[in-house]
């Protein structure tokens, strides 16, 4: 669950010894041609401290570039006391925080103190749960708490290294004893935030740093188990100048990373823009990205480093989309070099590049693709067929031969339901609720709807009605639409006359039937939204209009106008001899179009007959039943 590389702690030796020079001079006077009398600058040497800090910081850069979450690193600076630069908190897991902390620690000062304090503090820190660990519910606290400590120090001989490791082991045992004592009691009460966890395994890497020419009596020691598997110790001896390379190499197995050399990247020279030279850039990424290459290689080939050739992109490439598998983050191995910067900028500008395996025999095979997304670089492996390739044609499948889908309208609906990055919870459910509203009445095909084809006549009703709530003005606007429809009907106009000319032919039904469908659809649309009060008011108006639909012309025009301008609270069917309404008798378009005769009148809902001009109550006995029970 939590692998060893979930938690890493750097222990940096800040004792006076680390103030000495690394004896690896760096000469700044590269341009010697400044004429006579020019006093050359003395070369500069980094101190051991500077070397170890920059190496550790580079290690962190690689890790945090590739793993924005889940891989935590802490720094402990050790001199006479242990200075803990950051905690496991996510906000403190970045280079800026570390560098600021290092500024405060400052260069090496005189004073006593050894590495032991820092190492003990580091072991204590391993016991502290990371945010991910403490967020696990207490019932699932049986995970392995593992970690790695990289201790950069300088010891006199193997014996002092051994005693260092033994002190670490002792501290670990003591710490676990304490943690296991605390835990049983805490599991009953305040177990939500236990003080410390038992450390199940600690990988201690001791890096012994020396200046360039100094003799050392410390030797490399391979990984050895201590304390019956509680701790494994590894000792690596390094010159200060090689420390950065060493840690750059160690980070690979620690996080299962691999290096790819991208070779043959053409780049323009600053001085000579007309020609280009080829450069190589090393990039670091998850070792899994090589799995495909390695699988096809022999054991001997698999030990070699991976070199892939730049395949100059031609025009628009598919980008990372062409790769069907997973993607992995990429970071340059040497972030400051000019070719690296060029490659990174090329990709960040939105271009992608394919990489190929160099082959002696000719023939090209694309193997990987490099692309940037969201300001980060990614590598994906190409190759292999996908099991979903060669899909069956949609046109032969279900619904494939229907040609009049309302694609444009659905496109508009998609634009209205575009997602945006928001802050705070519930965004997803708001989006779903909105989609729900927008699709409550949504015929799939053009031929199954009349109102959505009428365009400007229905505006703004079809647009407004999907809103969560309507203002009074919006309700009035919708009423306006209904009124104008009513007007059209009374003028004996055909609704299909308003359709675009190419669609008019499809609607050849009788005028009454067409109007019946318009009102029926409108009712379905509005009724589907009739949860809010304003929508209900609109529905009432609509029902009035529709009721009027089949009344003899002219007779009740005044009442309809009154109904549509009434307050939203005006009772349903008021003043509208409710007997001629077929609101409650749904009809299918098919029947409508076939013109099946239907009874001109049907008996009205008994409740309404009883209620007269008041609002009819549904299920009146229900309330009585409830009351009777009490």
């Amino acid at each position: 669950m939590f692998p060893t590389n979930h938690k890493t702690i750097f222990v940096l030796d800040h004792t006076p010894y680390f103030g000495i020079s690394s004896d690896n001079p760096i000469d700044f006077d590269v341009s010697k041609s400044r004429g006579p009398g020019y006093v050359p600058l003395p070369p500069v040497c980094k101190s051991l401290w500077t070397c170890s800090v920059e190496a550790a910081v580079e290690y962190c850069r690689i890790v945090w570039d590739l793993f924005p979450e889940g891989k935590l690193i802490r720094f402990v600076v050790s001199d006479s006391a242990a200075h803990i630069l950051n905690t496991w908190a996510v906000a403190q897991q970045n280079l800026t925080h570390i560098l600021n902390g290092l500024c405060l620690v400052g260069p090496v000062r005189r004073g006593a103190g050894g590495d032991v304090v820092g190492l003990c503090a580091a072991i204590e820190a391993l016991g502290e749960p990371s945010p991910a660990q403490s967020s696990r519910p207490t019932t699932e606290r049986h995970f392995q708490n593992r970690g790695r400590i990289i201790c950069i120090t300088s010891a006199r001989d193997d014996d002092s290294i051994r005693s260092l490791a033994e002190i670490a082991l002792n501290a670990l045992v003591q710490q676990n004893k304490k943690a296991s004592l605390v835990q049983p009691s805490s599991s009953t009460e305040a177990s939500a935030n236990p003080e410390s966890l038992v450390v199940h395994h600690c990988h201690l890497v001791i890096v012994n740093v020396t200046p360039e020419k100094a003799e050392t009596r410390v030797n490399n020691q391979p990984l050895t188990e201590m304390g019956s598997g509680l701790m494994s110790v590894e000792v690596i001896v390094s010159r200060a100048s090689a420390l950065a390379n060493l840690l750059g190499r160690l980070v690979l197995p620690h996080y299962k990373l691999a290096i790819t050399t991208v070779t043959g990247i053409p780049m323009k020279e600053e001085q000579n823009a007309s020609s280009s030279a080829n450069y190589d850039v090393e990039i670091i990424h998850a070792a899994e990205a090589h799995a495909g290459l390695r699988a096809a290689q022999t054991a001997a080939e698999a030990l070699e480093s991976v070199v892939l050739r730049w395949w100059t992109p031609r025009g628009a490439e598919g980008g990372a989309g062409s790769c069907s598998g997973p993607l992995w983050r990429v970071t340059p191995a040497d972030v400051a070099s000019r070719p690296s910067a060029c490659l990174v900028n090329f990709l960040l500008n939105g271009r992608s590049v394919t990489l190929e395996v160099p082959r002696k025999g000719g023939g090209r095979a694309a193997s990987h693709v490099l692309a940037a997304q969201g300001g980060e670089l990614w590598i994906g492996a190409l190759g292999g067929r996908a099991p979903y390739e060669d899909p069956p044609a949609l046109s032969e499948g279900v619904g494939g031969r229907v040609t009049d889908y309302r694609i444009k309208e659905f496109g508009a609906l998609m634009q209205q339901n575009k997602l945006h990055p928001l802050r705070g919870a519930g965004a997803n459910s708001r989006a779903r609720a909105r989609l729900q509203r927008h699709t409550t009445y949504w015929p799939l095909t053009i031929s199954s709807t009349l109102i959505f084809n009428l365009g400007s006549i229905m505006e703004p009703l079809t647009r407004l009605v999907v809103q969560e709530s309507l203002t009074d003005e919006e309700v009035d606007a919708c009423r306006g639409v209904l009124l104008s429809l009513l007007g059209m009907e009374s003028r004996h106009e055909l609704p299909s006359a308003q359709l675009p000319s190419n669609m008019r032919g499809k609607w050849s039904g009788r005028r009454e039937e067409q109007w019946r469908q318009v009102w029926g659809e409108l009712e379905a649309l509005v009724r589907a939204h009739a949860a809010a009060p304003a929508h209900r008011a609109l529905l009432r108006t609509l029902l009035d209009c529709r009721a009027h639909n089949h009344a003899p012309d002219g007779e009740s025009r005044a009442t309809v106008i009154r109904a549509t301008t009434d307050s939203p609270l005006s009772p349903v069917g008021a003043g509208n001899g409710a007997s001629n309404s077929d609101v409650w008798a749904p009809r299918n378009v098919l029947e409508t179009l076939l013109g099946a005769p239907r009874p001109p009148r049907r008996p009205d809902f008994a409740g309404r007959m009883a209620a007269g001009n008041r609002i009819a109550t549904l299920y009146p006995h229900l309330q009585q039943d409830v009351e009777a029970q009490h």
Binding site: P326, G400, P421, A427, R430, R432, T440, E521, R527, V589
Partner: protein, 516 residues
Amino acid sequence: MPTAILLDISLSMSRPIPIPDSTENITRLTLASAAINTFLDYLSVHAKLEYVALVTFSSMYEVAVPFTRDYESIKVKLPQLEEGDKTCIETALLGVNQLILGEWGYQTLVQTILITDGSCGAGAIGRNRIIQALPLPPSFPSKIHVLPIVSPHDSSLQHAMPLYQKIVDLAGNTANNSTGSINRGAIYCPDQLSVSGVVSTMNKLCEQQYQEFWCTLKCGKLETRVQLFPAPQPASHEGLAATYTISNQIHVIGFLQQQDLGTPIAISKHLIIPQAQSGNNTTNRENFGSKTPTKEGSSTEGTTTDEDMSDPSKVPNFCVLLHGALKVEGMAAIVQLGPDWWGTVSAWCEASRARRSCLLLGVLRPGASAAPWLGALDQLGPADDATTTEAFPVRSWRSYSGGGSGCAWARPHALLADVQKVLRHARKLPDKTQHLYKELNRLRRAAISLGFSELLTCVGSALERECASLPSSAPPECALQLAHAAAALRDPRTALDIKHTLQPLATNFTVTSMSH
């Protein structure tokens, strides 16, 4: 997931099976063929997009039929198979591995059905040697099922069982776990050595391992029943707290422009194949205009007549509409697959078959951070008119070092470049005064955090040297600024104070020269 059928054609497979009252000559190979036919028949009903290959083996292996969806070609091949010599499983598995790797790469889960004679062809020592030599686990995700054509009480089966178990176990321990751990294969022993026994065993295998995956794709009130192919596997790997299984309802949350979406890290991709809705049509027709309109995706009003109902391709389906609109608008849908799990739906077509386009579901890595440039996926929501929202891509607060933020001086050339930059500006005073101080402050900041005070001393003396070598024609401001900067770098009170910022010397020379 593609399937390789690995069929034993060693001599022992030609042993006849005694059947009391029948003169028919039934061999184990006949039973194996019956099993394969059953398998292919099952696929052609339930998963006809599955690719299947037939590999035969004895001491050698041969790809009898390469991966195909044309199951007939395998059925035709079965009676033509010639018997070989002796069972040699490890060679066969090696061959299958090569075939699969060449065809499917190392990212696709491939199932292998090993149909053999139920004896490992060796004694206890030989068996252990075979186990040692097994080319497993393969470098691609795989599952191996074993179907021994043997009577359950055969003693050779007891002897071969450990080998089969090892094959099944090892195949699951794939080294490449990017797609997450997968369920292991299994051993399917027929309960009797007869055609019906073998067929029923094969049916069991099919039902357990080739279950088609059905779910409902919902977009608000529009919905349709779809099949996902290949059937999605539960996702779980070391970074995940739990195992994730796709729920049987996939909810569309909203839509994104394809270029905003980019290519999120998908753990698998699946075709979305719409399915005919049986039985819904009639209810739908009655529903028109009522209080529950168009609840199903296939609203069937309009000109459709009863004859059309029998032809599902003429019944409108939401999937086709969604596909068309996604394609026209260049958009993709974000869908919720389950709690804390998202996916993408987009219109996809192979480059070589531009006209054959389909809906593709990309199953993202579980968790809200599968596409960091979209922000947290659980916080994707509709834009309200009032609030101005962030735009894609969402920049992470953690700056990417590739952008060149830092002081990676571990390699000397980087340090050299930074120092040279300061000196270049120093030589171009007074125009570059601001640049000089900006670079100096950057250098200082880096040097202080690395405890590299030696560098500051060195740069200080380099600036002094520049000052000394100024030509006599240089404006006096240059010398003053250089001396000021050099002194500031070495001022013991402020040199190592990170909060202190070097400021240019405020001179009035520029003012006087301007007035002339």
